[in-house]
């Protein structure tokens, strides 16, 4: 981990370029170590088992070391995320578990075709009113009152996961409501 800190000034793209030029796995290793905790977290979310999650991270590391595509990767983090998610979903399918819940969430997360348009404050406020109470409260406290998750938890009694989920779902619903209003 210490040597990784030496290269914090280099972006992922620069490390990938160094690897492509030298074909030295050293650079790829530094790049992968940047994402160990994130990959472990994603694997834990899907597999819910520490040993299986560690194995999944090792699998992704080995896949990168042996099968990194020759084509340039523009978003290495995004690419790693998809690789890990697909591996976890495949692992769950192999175990005979349903992955519908996850794939629905992923489809929603991948829906990034929203183009920002001019919105008035009134339209935003009106859309906010249409959200359900927990989503509205969480969004107002986080974005308008600039509260931390900890403060929101203290004030509302929601759990950490609930606050995060209410904000995410609230944002997604808000986006849909605003799009609907704009298309009217």
């Amino acid at each position: 981990m210490h040597r990784q800190q030496t290269y914090n000034h280099l972006s992922d793209q620069e490390l990938l370029a160094k690897f492509s030029y030298s074909k030295d796995n050293y650079w790829l290793g530094i790049l992968l170590q940047r994402y160990t905790a994130l990959l472990l977290g994603v694997a834990m979310k899907y597999l819910k088992n520490k040993e299986e999650a560690e194995d999944a991270v090792q699998y992704v590391f080995m896949k990168c070391l042996t099968h990194l595509p020759n084509e340039p990767i523009n978003n290495f983090k995004g690419w790693l995320y998809i690789l890990m998610r697909n591996h976890c979903l495949q692992h769950l399918r192999d175990k005979g578990l349903s992955t519908t819940e996850f794939t629905e969430a992923i489809d929603a997360a991948d829906d990034e075709d929203y183009n920002s348009k001019e919105l008035t404050l009134q339209e935003m406020e009106a859309a906010l009113e249409e959200l359900n109470e927990p989503q509205k409260t969480s969004i107002e406290l986080f974005y308008l009152k600039k509260m931390s998750y900890e403060q929101i938890i203290a004030q509302t009694g929601y759990t950490f996961m609930q606050v995060k989920s209410y904000i995410q779902n609230g944002k997604r619903n808000l986006k849909l409501l605003l799009l609907k209003k704009l298309n009217k």
Partner: protein
Amino acid sequence: MSSPNNNNNLWQHSESNSGLSDELLLAYLEGKLDEENKRKVEAMLSNEGMESDAIDGLLQMPTQQTKRSVDKLNRQLAMAMSKKRRKKATLSQLHIITYIILILVLVIVAFFVYKHIAQSH
């Protein structure tokens, strides 16, 4: 709480890339970030994506356990890489030895050919 300077250093990698670094994520989980940096991290967690999924997973185990697992995985990665590098180095050493032997054989053959031509004249 760590000092603001330390907190700012943690953002160096994140600023050159889109997203949250492992160090920042672990510092957040350990409660080591000041209010400003905590807010930046939470703004990222409020978006769907890798960071959000990762925090969902990491909250399922104690932070010290996460740190141990991350260290273990990084050590295993370093070992796998050094094995590959050693293998690569051994292969290039083999190539060098093969080239030297080939050159020596060519020099010896050239010497005998030259000697043979000289004798026949």
